[in-house]
Symmetry: C2
Subunit: 364 residues, 2 copies
């Protein structure tokens, strides 16, 4: 029986002094090509070559080393590889919340593209905090990700300066800052907003409210702009009392808080900044016994899975989130390959469900 039939023989253990507890902690240590080389009685260079299938190496040696590596449980160190190659095959991605299904879909799209080119994604969580956002980007760069994709960045002047030190390509999804930034992907918020309002106008509504959000200023402004364009195209006068942003710490809370204001303003329909806002509003309507869409038509934005399952199901503007992620990742990888890239604006689409209907009566 050859010794390498007993894998436990290769198991190496190291000890470290844990000063807090004053104990010696034993830990298993990864197998390296040097260890394999020692066992095989060759130089580590040979092992390196053999494992990578270099044809210069004798076929027998190669086979022997490969088997040995397998038996010893060798797993190459991506850390060492990255240091040497100056490449991590990792794309950093900054989202405001990992548990928000909105971003989940975008990340899945990005991963779909990345995986096919052997890249992985390292997620950073900004928790919608502008300070933390730049800290997360810094951390990703510290880890030497090959490129960075950021969702909803507030690129103001300060950010712009901070981003200068980042020497890898940066792609922005839904940039909320005002300055120009070269590598950007977004959806057509203006057209989306226009479609939403036009849909309600087409149903005969004349007092259509817009419930906004404070944390995504640019999207908010653009969707509102679309709302205004639709009104102008339909030659319907607008009432500024109908456009407002309620107080609240979440989209749902702001949606709930909007109801009172909506009744006061005698809205018959409402365009909510996004689905989560609409869902919050609708649950308030239900509690107050206000029938949707009969007394109040509601339209959202995003087309989250959720919107299919609420009652009534939510009419909304679909945003191609998976594709957004795919496109952003494609752009990042193209930049790494030195290709020319172009900023992109993806189209939205109206999805009619049950929460909107023809105007019926004025509330109250």
């Amino acid at each position: 029986m050859r010794p390498w039939n007993a894998p436990s023989k290769w198991e190496r253990v190291n000890t470290k002094l844990v000063s807090d507890l004053n104990i010696h902690l034993e830990y298993r240590v990864p197998v390296t090509i040097k260890q394999i080389a020692a066992v095989a009685g060759v130089c580590h260079t040979t092992v390196s070559r053999a494992l990578r299938g270099n044809p210069m190496i004798n076929a027998n040696t190669t086979a022997r080393i490969k088997q040995l590596a397998e038996e010893m449980g060798y797993v190459p160190s991506a850390v060492a590889l990255s240091l040497r190659s100056q490449k991590t095959f990792t794309i950093g991605m900054v989202v405001t919340s990992i548990s928000d299904p909105f971003f989940g879909r975008i990340v899945e799209g990005a991963e779909d593209v990345a995986r096919k080119e052997q890249y992985s994604i390292f997620l950073g969580n900004s928790r919608n905090d502008s300070e933390r956002e730049i800290a997360v980007v810094d951390d990703l760069y510290r880890r030497r990700v090959d490129a960075i994709i950021i969702t909803s960045l507030w690129v103001d002047n300060q950010h712009h300066k901070d981003l200068e030190r980042i020497k890898v390509p940066i792609v922005l999804i839904h940039n909320q800052g005002d300055g120009e930034f070269t590598n950007s992907i977004a959806v057509d918020d203006v057209e989306g907003g226009r479609m939403a309002a036009a849909h309600l106008l087409g149903l005969g509504h004349r007092r259509i409210a817009f419930v906004g959000t404070p944390d995504q200023p640019k999207s908010n402004r653009q969707r509102l702009e679309g709302y205004q364009i639709a009104h102008q195209q339909a030659s319907v006068a607008m009432d500024s009392a109908l456009c407002f942003t309620p107080e609240g710490n979440s989209y749902e809370q702001r949606g709930r808080a909007a109801l009172k204001h909506l009744r006061q303003a005698q809205a018959t329909a409402v365009f909510c900044y996004n689905d989560r806002t609409a869902v919050g509003l609708m649950s308030a309507c239900r509690e107050e016994g206000l029938p949707v869409p009969k007394e109040l038509a509601v339209i959202g934005f995003d087309d989250l899975e959720l919107s299919r399952y609420v009652t009534p199901s939510l009419t909304t503007i679909n945003q191609p989130r998976f594709k957004l992620g795919q496109t952003a990742m494609r752009m990042a990888l193209d930049l790494l390959e030195g290709k020319e890239v172009q900023d992109q604006v993806l189209p939205c689409a109206l999805v009619e469900r049950e929460s909107t209907a023809a105007v019926h009566a004025i509330i109250d």
Copy 2:
């Protein structure tokens, strides 16, 4: 004007031949301590010490170097650090889907604990594929994460063997395999299932169905076991026709598919494997005009945010997902510190909402 007032002077660029396109791609290269040392006219060791605030270094030199590093936009390389220290300060986490809000909350809990000890999380996506699961774990280990947390692993014999080569601590959340695995966290599925069924029994229901899932065998079995215990405790006979797992590619689809069977079996109430299954079922009920809870009481499991917003809002068994993540991460970090850890089973809780009510009549 001193040269280091012109940061662009430090900007270094490298070129690489892109053979596909036969062009020379220019790319910016990160600043290293060596470059700083060259500019400052000292040894790189000194720079390293100065930047880390080593008191041995002259205060003036330290100040000068720190400022220079700032001006040159120095960001230390975590890759080099990791190679040197044999530690990445990264915990790998395997989830079946990144966009599933169920896991999002768990990851947030884990991150909450990790962040406080300067650890980051690297997410791997197994897409509920047993083959891919082990590939993802391998990849995480390749990257030399310090520990790995896996959700819903099917630890069978093959897996067990594959996991042997992984030389870092592994913590399992909701292990779906049968073998013993030392570092595990789970919720009390049996007790959760019992509470769900007991709730329905307490409302007078006697024909209670259980709609299962094929992809989480252990949880499924345990929740069903709880269901059985509740029936025994209440001395209510069970009908095996009431417990089944419909065909379908998603929880929602299986929920929808369950309705027909439920009517045939004359169920007056149903305990669904999870909220997503319940939501699918409820939307089928709505389409078929079957009122919930009047004609069919529905209870789910998990307590996703979603369940608050469907109509009627969903009665369910709360699963402490955030805490699950926190606990798992705590266990992983404790293992790294050589502390003793114990497997844990977290309690569930009944959350009564609108989708369950006293028994009314037999369907049809």
